[in-house]
Amino acid sequence: MSEPIIRIQDLKKIYRTGDVDVAALRGVSLEVAKGDFVSIVGPSGSGKSTLFHILGGLAAPTSGSIHIDGDDLMALSDSGRTNLRRRKVGFVFQKYNLLPTLTAMGNIEMARYFSENAGPLDQSFRDLLTRLGIQDRLDHKPRAMSGGEQQRVAIARALVNQPAILLADEPTGNLDTENSEKVLGVLRDLNERLGQTILMITHNPEAAAYGHRTVHMRDGRIVRES
């Protein structure tokens, strides 16, 4: 196993709702090597989304330690987490989450803009667009694309800044079987060919099987790995 790109130790996250503290993560420890493809499964409320949000810099951890590609997330301020999202993390969501007013290319350019990634797209990314099968759909807005196409645009957008990790939250949750297989195939291909580190949240055991290993969560803890 190569050097871990994600190292989490005894991570806790407590949300305060009104006067009540709710523990969403109760001491999670996990290491993910560079180039790994990890599926995270678990029932609703198991803490997998909270883990996803903390790994993506969308929420601050309460205690423990978490490092991504050398960055200590416990030490990051809001602006530090913003920078993490710009440079080290790419998101793929269940509902695609493309900006509806921009074309596919506009969505990709927007991600490049925030990471200050200027200049023309490099050839390897253009090859990726071809592999994703969206090279002819770049001038289309999301409403003119199928769900599968939108999700592949979202994957391209997530990867345009060559992030250290790709976080995918139920990426096939809104897709039919055919498109689900296409998207999962794309993720596996990215992982195998480019060595892209991927963490994927899913409810679907078939989808989870695309990963190298599966982390099972329950009640804010990792209960099993397979």
């Binding site: 900006l99 921009l102 350019e109």
Partner: protein, 366 residues
């Protein structure tokens, strides 16, 4: 890239964008119309005052330069002026306001044209009877009046005997004696117009007149001094009125943009979450909304100027008599600043709200 997003966002909701810009536009038009109307009326008054050809204007004690007031100066004073050296013509007139801001001028026809030169008649001719009325072309066109028509002014029926080119003193002229009689101002004048032998002597003549004890309290102006007083500051309440209009415009602009941006932020909550996930900082989000607002303000300002041309044309063509409006380009920068300031103020709260949105909550917003 941000500019492209901003443009696409505005294009995405075309009707809302158009309505917001129009609302800001009407705010701009409101200011430009009030100012244009005020300036138009003042300039029209200046032109008509200059068109008389008098070198000196004499107003009775306590009379305002611009305010419309009836006759209050004894007519016998006229003889006093006529007797002064260097004064070639001394002509009294009666200005009687009616129907709000309109007025009718009572003149001694022969004396008046002696000072001012003949009227240029487009139709008809001078008074033949005491109950006749001369109107200028502007009034005739707006009232669709022509020679022979009967007009009721001051509860008196007048027959239009002539239509003249505009630009002398007033828009409506009647024989002075009849007007004095109708208004119970026999032997009273509103103002006296003086012509001097050499305009170069005007200031020295005024200085001499002001030394005369009997004229103590009278306002005596050269034509230059007289027309210089036709300004916003000298019309009672006008400046305050314009400030009120500007204040209302700012409030309207603020409310319109505030509402627009608030609904925009609500509608785009999820998109704001997406932008944050892509690495947008709170300042990036605020920047996007500020740019959208600035574009709306610019579009609204331009629309307001275009609409103000329409309003100006409508006032000058459809509003019955005595309202003159002008296009006032010197106020365009001011209205730009007002529209921009009101819009940015309106965008402030929604913008800050958007900037502070929690990314996770925003992403889960349906």
């Amino acid at each position: 890239m941000i500019n492209r997003l901003v443009l696409e966002n505005l294009k995405h909701r075309k009707l809302r964008t158009a309505l917001s810009a129009l609302s800001i536009g009407f705010q701009v038009t409101m200011i430009l119309s009030v100012v244009g109307l005020s300036q138009g009326m003042l300039n029209d008054s200046i032109n008509r005052a200059k068109g008389v050809g008098a070198d000196i204007w004499v107003k009775p004690p306590g009379a305002s330069v611009i305010g419309l007031s009836g006759a209050s100066m004894p007519q016998k004073v006229l003889g006093f002026f006529q007797a002064q050296p260097h004064i070639t013509h001394a002509v009294g007139t009666v200005i009687q306001p009616y129907a709000g801001i309109s007025s009718v001028s009572g003149i001694d026809y022969k004396e008046f044209v002696g000072l001012s030169g003949n009227f240029r008649f487009l139709q008809g001719g001078p008074f033949q009877t005491p109950d006749e009325l001369i109107v200028d072309q502007w009034y005739a066109e707006q009232s669709k009046a022509s020679v022979g028509d009967m007009v009721t002014i001051l509860n008196h029926k007048w027959r239009i005997c002539g239509v003249v080119e505009p630009g002398k003193l007033g828009r409506l002229f009647v024989p002075m004696a009849r007007l004095q009689e109708l208004t119970n101002n026999q032997d009273k004048l509103s103002q006296i117009l003086l012509k001097v032998d050499d305009p170069k002597n005007t200031q020295s003549i005024i200085a001499e007149l002001k030394k005369i004890e009997e004229l103590d309290g009278y306002s005596i102006y050269s034509i230059e001094e007289f027309v210089s007083m036709f300004s916003f500051n000298n019309v009672p309440g006008l400046r305050a009125f314009i400030w009120v209009i500007i204040g209302l415009s700012i409030v309207i602009g603020f409310l319109v943009v505030s509402l627009t941006m608030y609904t925009t932020v609500l509608e785009r909550t999820r998109e704001i979450g997406i932008l944050k996930a892509l690495g947008a900082s709170p300042m990036n989000i605020l920047n996007i909304l500020v740019r959208e607002t600035a574009l709306l303000a610019i579009a609204g300002w331009l629309a307001g100027i275009v609409i103000s041309f329409g309003a100006n044309w409508a006032i000058n063509h459809f509003v019955h008599s005595n309202l003159q409006s002008e296009i006032t380009p010197d106020w365009w920068p001011t209205t730009f600043a007002i529209a921009m300031a009101a819009s940015l103020l309106g965008a402030l709260y929604p913008g800050l709200r958007a900037a502070r949105l929690d990314a996770i909550e925003a992403l889960s917003y349906e």
